[in-house]
């Protein structure tokens, strides 16, 4: 069986890293920009200054970590698995907004949290990867041009 089919503990951990880095990265950026106040397009230098503030810089580092983990997950799981499975980040953002930024969270937002959690539950109980291995034998290493047999390049077969 191709290793792309099975979800190991390490792979669930990568999904967890996506969830946490995305939500914490966005929250850190919001926290940093709130403390700096409104930035005018007439003074773009203020944006450069913002990048070096501790909260914004930490947020950017977390979002770089998010993108690296996201790409890793897409190399062994379907997009329609990774996106819902990692959407628990919205739940974490709501919890951070409530308990850290002390924002008001309405009952409808809590209902949204329930819907998202249910959606994550549905998708993670199913298979993570659609098998296209009958179209190509091995995963690529360094030469993407040699393996141009992936779904967008091949003929429709469903």
């Amino acid at each position: 069986m191709n290793s792309r089919h099975s979800m190991t503990f390490r792979r669930y951990l990568v999904l967890g890293v996506i969830t946490i880095t995305a939500s914490c990265g966005d929250t850190f950026l919001a926290r940093g920009m709130k403390s700096l106040g409104p930035v005018s397009l007439a003074h773009p230098g203020a944006l450069i200054h913002a990048i070096f503030s501790p909260w914004v810089a930490s947020g950017i580092v977390l979002l770089i970590g998010f993108f690296a983990s996201y790409l890793t997950a897409l190399s062994w799981a379907d997009l329609t698995y990774v996106l819902p499975a990692s959407s628990l980040g919205y739940v974490i953002m709501t919890l951070l907004a409530k308990f850290w930024l002390h924002e008001h969270v309405s009952p409808l937002r809590w209902l949204g949290v329930v819907f998202i959690t249910a959606g994550v539950g549905f998708v993670t109980r199913g298979p993570s990867y659609t098998d296209h291995s009958h179209h190509h034998a091995t995963p690529a290493a360094h030469s993407p041009s040699e393996t141009n047999t992936e779904p967008m390049a091949e003929e429709a077969h469903r």
């Binding site: 309405s106 949290v113 549905f122 360094h142 993407p144």
Partner: protein, 128 residues
């Protein structure tokens, strides 16, 4: 349809279309590249990074994601964050499921549709 509603719809459509194109191209690139864990074991982290950044579809995907980001910033400067953010994000879950089925030939079964719709509704509710 009023011109304001038309403009709002066009802004949301621009964000959703560019974000979906970016996600599909990036996912397609990662399928072309192969399992990054295997490549990293074989060629190290620099080898894995090199395999990703030299992929043409990845470059196109990043350009589309950048377009989506700037479309989002443009929309934020004209409309409320609480309208644009959840509307664009939740719709992107549905368009990604459709595009993944037709372009990536992913097996989007009833379970995945249910998950995409639940997350779509959930994200929309976060606006209230």
């Amino acid at each position: 349809m009023t011109s304001a509603l038309l403009a709002t719809s066009a802004m949301i459509a621009a964000i959703v279309i560019s974000a979906t194109a970016g996600d599909i191209l990036t996912a397609s690139a990662m399928r072309q590249v192969g399992d990054l864990d295997v490549i990293r074991q074989r060629s190290g982290i620099l080898g894995a990074a090199g395999a990703v950044v030299t992929n043409g579809r990845f470059g196109l995907g990043v350009i589309c994601l950048a377009l989506s980001f700037f479309s989002l910033l443009f929309a934020f400067s004209h409309r409320d964050l609480s309208l644009i953010g959840p509307a664009a994000t939740s719709l992107t879950f549905v368009t990604n499921a459709l595009a993944a089925k037709f372009f990536l030939h992913e097996n989007v079964d009833r379970r995945r549709w249910t998950a995409a719709l639940f997350v779509c509704v959930g994200v929309a509710l976060l606006a209230f």
